[in-house]
Point group: C2
Chain length 331, copies 2
Amino acid sequence: MATIDDVARSAGVSVSTVSYVLSGKRPISEPTRERVRKAVAELGYRPHAGARALASSRTQVIGLVAPLRAGVDVNVIMQFVAGVVTRARSFEHDVLLLTQDDVAGIERVSSGSMVDALVVMDVEAQDPRITTLLAVKQPVVLIGLPARPHGLSCVDLDFEAVGRLAVTHLVELGHRTIGLVGPPPSVLARHTSYAERLIRGLQSQAEEDGVHAVVEPAEPGHRGGQAATEVLLAVDGLTGIVVHNEAALPAVLDTIRQAGRRVPEDVAVLTVGPPEVALSQTPPVTSIDIPAQEIGGAAVDMVIERLASAGSPQTRLFSPRVTLGETTARH
Amino acid sequence: MATIDDVARSAGVSVSTVSYVLSGKRPISEPTRERVRKAVAELGYRPHAGARALASSRTQVIGLVAPLRAGVDVNVIMQFVAGVVTRARSFEHDVLLLTQDDVAGIERVSSGSMVDALVVMDVEAQDPRITTLLAVKQPVVLIGLPARPHGLSCVDLDFEAVGRLAVTHLVELGHRTIGLVGPPPSVLARHTSYAERLIRGLQSQAEEDGVHAVVEPAEPGHRGGQAATEVLLAVDGLTGIVVHNEAALPAVLDTIRQAGRRVPEDVAVLTVGPPEVALSQTPPVTSIDIPAQEIGGAAVDMVIERLASAGSPQTRLFSPRVTLGETTARH
DNA sequence: TTGAAAGCGCTAACAT
DNA sequence: ATGTTAGCGCTTTCAA
């Protein structure tokens, strides 16, 4: 591989000139710049990432902590990841992926200076990683909202507002008893941030509106969705179901039909998740979208910003909106 | 951050001794080793990844090329990724994730010496990345099987055998006309390796067995699966359906029922995909598993092996097996 | 506008 | 069994 010395020699300039042409950190005369560019192209030169990291203390790599836990909506995860990677690239950064659910990986890449910043997914209300993250020298952004952020930056969909919005939407349509097919028990058991926030919003809005809300977690897969839906359908006077569990959605629709109830005439269905999933059902399901890609991108924005200016941490919550399908109607 | 010099000073030894204690590349007396370890622990020392990469030409990072394309089974992708990351960690490697579908990322991380090796996913029959990969200095393993591997190492489930096995299983049960709900048209259009191989195996086995096979791609989502299934159900004498499209599976089962046909009495269903998805349906679907996690791990094994010994490239194909559910029966 | 040179923090050959 | 030291390939200060 060609080194910066080779380029300098070939262009008849010093290495620092080559470096400055590449970084643009000081003005270089047009002719020189052109000669350097030519030499770079001819030799197929690429700076050695390690050498650059050593000299500049910048790796151009963002660490993405994405534990692959049971019960998560894999489509949503992928969208987050895609958003992070894409936005990172737009800032000339690559992404190092950590999927192990421990604090060791965070410590390793952080104190080993493998990354410039960290984006952390699947945050829990009392996340055990927070202590470690607070001690990290790189900027950190959480995707999610712990009970106590301790001054860490956070970004997420406002899931509490999602819960409220779901209730409001259904109540406005005349529904008075509403069920939630929630995330799997395992997700709730570890107090996953988004799950608890949605339920909290749903319940408090229901209370404010004086309507009845029933929460029923669903195990992954068809049977989980089926079981939860059957429980809800047995609830007296229930006419609306909110689904916060991508894997259960087909089963929910299926089970309602099997029970001889019509959607939306007898039971309205509203799902929380990626638009594609909701809209590709039969019929298209009214949904509150999770703009996962956008949130992932925003996480990178925040982390890059703090890399540049060391500004103070902030929390950014995206407001939910309803995308109408054909599964909610006036009761 | 503490450097190796700090550790050496604190332990009263030279830097090389510290380095050798850490790498184990030369014998160190027990007392010295202990003093070094203690100093490392006290200072919380971690070698600087960039410095190490510069000096040793090893990054301890594997590049994972995983383009997030339309129509792929996201569960399967995730399993591959999980397999790669987990196995990589067991060899003290981390994973840099490239999701962009171009050759630029490969060139960047390869010639920038950001990775020690590359694992490439979602391989097409005539994959445009192959030329680039052949020029790369790091070891490469493809997950998938291009028409001409050109001497690159490959690992995958033997999808041709999957197609054959699916037919054999159904034919043995007495089925004579078989349908395939295939991957989305977009996946077929780009000649995705696994999709074409499965169809090839399915068709040639059908021919050999003198049975009729109909292939119908399915767009993602419920409606795609529904449409494809309706087409197949209209085929005269069709009694068996193979589903190679995770997102369509619930819709396929649903549509068969809606059409008033029973599973498996009237129509047998066999799916190709992760076991969890198949088994969590109602009823549990007979499946040919894609051991994605295992394959991802094997890819890492192969790449690590070549890093150690520069052995010659090889192709490893996993043999498919049927996991019985309740959706296939004698006709 | 450009160049020289001192590091950055390691590894590993070469000494002892 | 341990130490000394020359790089690894960059960035960036200091000079000119």
